[in-house]
């Protein structure tokens, strides 16, 4: 029984708009949602040009894909997968080939889809379970006849062979996809022992935090709901004016269960603390989503957004170290999550913005990665709290970090207090002036 892939009409439009020049192929990603009965392809985007010394579109003229192309394509896939909210993922790849190269297409597609899956899952804080769908789609399109051949592979089995799959086009509207959102407070403390490597410790720290998230209890609308019960959708309007079907309030509750019998004392060279609030967002399958899907989707999105941001920051800092800006200490803001609706669809994707970047940079990045032009107005950066302008340097412990965070709030309040005082002073002055004039008039 083959899988059915339902693709949005915009995907069809996009794919037919791609032209190949000469005997060159175009690779790209298919993005959407996996669900039990069928998979939905909501978006497609071609692999961006690689700036190489080679000819044309960066593909070698002999054979379909060399190793550099493969690496480029998998890196693109990883970047794109980081821009997807929960519930959406890179479902597979497409390949537009001229008829003379169509014989090698299946094996190329196979290489590509396995490599992409491997690269995307590196550094991920959760593993695929039996409940997850492990089929990925490959779409082979002949550049001359425009005929599409759809096959799927089971990426869990390295020896799996291509299975035929159905591919059809149908308008897909975002309003039938329930959206779940919540804001989660982070509090990770990672110690780096003397003879250890930064990235291994951070990975370990993230993993143990992720284990607690996986074990956390999730309440829906303040109640513990059975896994299999159906979700009742509600409606909410957001800041950009779009109407979303949204399930109400999700609450994650953590407990510490493993009460080991010994205290661990280590001599450490460094200490990392990650704190703040992140916004999580996930789309659920349109067909009778259940409570367990919503809980899983939030958990996964939370783990993805945190690991993605921490890794991005660490890479950025590593580059700074190489450029002789010194080893980083003190407070570094994590990239901020913004959401944007692509013109072709109603679904919102996300991106991460460093404090020194602007909204224009986001638009530029979206154009490069997703081959889409977005306006700056459609980028919503209000869903997460923004950074203040504080640059305190602290040399001490947790309690002082606490104070730092508290003083952030204080300054916001201080601003309002000052405003209030000013207003009051202003009014008092006016009153005094008025009464003076009145008095002088009387006299």
């Amino acid at each position: 029984m083959g899988r059915t892939y339902v693709a949005d009409d915009t995907v069809q439009k996009y794919l037919s708009s791609l032209h190949t020049a000469g005997g060159v192929c175009i690779t790209g990603l298919l993005i959407g949602q996996l669900s039990l009965q069928r998979d939905y392809v909501l978006l497609s985007t071609k692999t961006p040009h690689r700036d190489s010394d080679g000819p044309g579109e960066g593909h070698s003229s002999s054979g379909l894909l060399d190793d550099a192309d493969l690496e480029w394509a998998t890196e693109h896939a990883k970047q794109v997968s980081q821009m997807l909210p929960g519930g959406m993922s890179v479902l597979g790849v497409f390949l537009i080939v001229p008829p003379e190269l169509s014989k090698e297409a299946p094996s190329t597609l196979r290489r590509l889809v396995f490599a992409i899956e491997k690269h995307i899952s590196k550094g991920r804080l959760w593993d695929l379970t039996e409940e997850d769908i492990t089929e990925r789609v490959t779409l082979q399109i002949c550049s001359k006849t425009k005929k599409a051949l759809c096959r799927s592979f089971d990426i869990k089995d390295p020896k799996s062979s291509a299975k035929p799959a159905d591919w059809k086009y149908q308008p897909v509207s975002s309003s039938s996809w329930p959206l779940v959102t919540c804001t989660v407070a982070l509090d990770l403390q990672i110690s780096l022992p003397l003879k250890s490597l930064d990235d291994i410790c951070i990975k370990e720290g993230l993993r143990s935090w992720a284990n607690r998230i996986k074990a956390a209890v999730c309440l829906i609308n303040g109640k513990l709901v059975a896994d299999e019960s159906e979700l009742v959708p509600g409606q909410v309007r957001d800041s950009v004016g779009l109407l979303w079907f949204c399930d109400n309030v999700y609450q994650l509750i953590l407990s510490l269960e493993d009460m080991g019998s010994s205290a661990v004392t280590q001599c450490c060279r460094s200490f990392i603390s990650i704190r703040g609030a992140v916004h999580c967002r996930a789309y659920l399958q349109p067909n009778k989503p259940r409570a367990k899907h919503a809980v899983e989707a939030i958990r996964k999105d939370l783990m993805n957004t945190v690991s993605c941001r921490v890794n991005m920051l660490m890479e950025d800092l590593l580059m700074n170290e190489f450029n002789d800006q010194g080893v980083m200490t003190g407070v570094q803001p994590l990239p901020h999550r913004v959401f944007v609706a692509l013109p072709a669809s109603d679904f919102r994707l996300c991106d991460y913005v460093f404090p020194d970047e602007s909204i224009a940079d986001v638009a530029e990045r979206l154009h490069e990665m997703l081959d889409s032009r977005v306006t700056e107005e459609s980028i919503d950066s209000s869903l997460e709290p923004t950074h203040g302008t504080h640059t305190h340097t602290h040399t001490h412990t947790l309690l002082t970090i606490h104070i730092w965070y508290n003083s952030c709030y204080l300054d916001k309040n201080l601003f309002f207090i000052c405003l209030g005082l000013l207003l009051a002073a202003g009014i008092a002055f006016l009153a005094m002036a008025a009464s003076l004039i009145f008095i002088t008039r009387l006299q």
């Binding site: 804001t183 403390q189 407990s255 510490l256 060279r269 947790l398």
Partner: protein, 460 residues
């Protein structure tokens, strides 16, 4: 012993709190201050609005610091605690657990909510590159309050919160007292039921220090609670055992608790005090059917001494018992590994050698005379309260108590029979009389009997 009266119940709050502390490598003087700071941080955490109590095996979650928000509609601040027992029972079709009649326990766990923070701030990463000692441990919080079943849930939760905060302070005191350089012991709470108080008393002990090392601390406690110096009320193994907690080793504890007292006019029951495990034939994959009865009775007695905190080592095996007898010169070396019987004298010798416990030997020339020992046995259970080993005829048994009438002299014996060869099935053991009340006709009227009455050591 504490008798929790009708209408009283215990609310028990457990959970782990992560303790994290960074100590300066060079400056040792600040260390205690740093530890105190970390504990102060934890005390403020349990006051946070994001603290959640969850009732185990139920869908009830409450936010005690956030105007008592609850996840079940029919529960709020004014709900009586007694009603919580019903919520706990709703397991959905499972077997109804046999609830202890005396003091029902409601188990709560505390957790932290991480969603919808009250003051969200932008996510940041803070890094400090200073060499330091990092101490990490999970504090095993375990607070207990005794409440009346008509007391409101709201006020009980307030008491639990205070208990949580107090426990953190006690843990801080224990940690500071037993801290060596950068090594800290895990402070672990134990609950004790004392004759001088109706509520359970919670004491925090450092995990790394053994009972001997804590003797001076226990002396202070005995003084504080005005307890006599001859009983180990505060040893860890004497901690209160909650009725709903299973024992991990699989042996049955105090099967006699499930029996009804014999109905004899004027007779009062005099029973073993404390907890013992039932040892019998064929346990531990040891086939001692036909010869091991006295060994098993001895094991039951050893289990009593271990569980009352007088013995730290495990209950001895048949071989270890035999080796002990060889060591004291009572038996030749070939005794070890044999299937030879032992009697009360050997039991006395082993108790003395392995546990340092003295025992009184009682000799009865005829089984028919055992009832006349009623006063002696009643006295024994009243003052010592240890199980008694009796050997005679060709059998050995354990006497766990007597029901004796001072006026009429009528007597029944509570017998634990080591000849049972089946599994740890409480129903069978009590129904078929493997643990049961027997009359004077139980004994071989013509055989002579020796009884070994172990004496409780006078120690704390």
């Amino acid at each position: 012993m504490v008798l929790v009266d009708d209408g009283a119940m215990i609310l028990r709050l457990g959970g782990g709190l992560e303790f994290l502390c960074q100590l300066d490598v060079s400056d040792a003087s600040q260390r205690q201050l740093e530890v105190s700071r970390s504990f102060a941080d934890l005390r403020s955490r349990v006051k946070a609005e994001s603290l959640v109590f969850s009732l185990t095996d139920s869908a009830l979650f409450i936010w005690p610091n956030k105007s008592f928000q609850a996840s079940l509609d029919d529960v709020d601040e004014s709900t009586a605690c007694g009603e919580l027992l019903q919520s706990e029972d709703d397991d959905g079709g499972g077997k109804k657990k046999k609830k202890d009649k005396k003091s029902p326990v409601v188990n709560l766990r505390f957790m932290m909510e991480i969603t919808e923070p009250t003051e969200p701030s932008a996510p940041c990463l803070y890094r400090e590159n200073k060499k330091h000692h990092c101490i990490r441990m999970v504090l095993p919080m375990d607070c207990v309050v005794t409440v009346r079943s008509d007391e409101t849930f709201g006020s009980s939760c307030k008491r639990l919160l205070r208990a949580l905060s107090t426990q953190l302070s006690e843990m801080e005191a224990v940690t500071l007292r037993h801290m060596k350089d950068t090594d800290v012991p895990v402070p672990r709470p134990f609950h004790f039921s004392l004759p001088t108080s109706t509520e359970l008393v919670t004491i925090v002990y450092p995990a790394s220090v053994d009972d001997k090392g804590l003797e001076s601390f226990r002396k202070e406690l005995h003084n504080r609670f005005e307890l006599p110096d001859d009983r180990p009320y505060f040893r860890r193994s004497n901690a209160f055992h909650f009725p709903d907690e299973p024992y991990k080793d699989g042996y049955l504890r105090n099967p006699h608790n499930h029996l009804n007292h014999p109905n004899i006019e004027g007779a009062k029951p005099y029973l073993v005090q404390g907890v013992y495990s039932y040892h019998h034939y064929m346990q531990d994959r040891m086939d001692d059917n036909g010869w091991g009865c006295a060994y098993r009775s001895l094991q039951t007695i050893c289990s009593w001494f271990r569980q009352q905190g007088y013995m730290e080592r495990t209950v001895p095996t048949h071989k270890e018992i035999q080796q002990a007898l060889v060591d004291v010169g009572d038996k030749p070396a070939a005794f070890v590994g044999s299937r030879q019987w032992i009697g009360s004298i050997e039991v006395q010798a082993v108790l003395s050698h392995l546990l340092g416990v003295t025992s009184k030997i009682l000799f009865v020339s005829q089984g028919s005379e055992l009832p006349s020992q009623g006063r002696e046995l009643a006295n024994h259970f009243l003052t010592e309260g240890t199980p008694v080993m009796i050997g005679g005829g060709v059998l050995a048994h354990t006497i766990l108590g007597v029901a004796w009438s001072e006026t009429s002299g009528q007597i029944r014996f509570l017998i634990l029979d080591p000849h049972y060869t089946g599994g740890e099935d409480l129903q069978t053991i009590t129904d078929k009389g493997w643990c049961g009340w027997k009359g004077p006709e139980f004994w071989d009227q013509n055989a002579y009997y020796n009884l070994c009455l172990p004496q409780r050591p006078k120690a704390i």
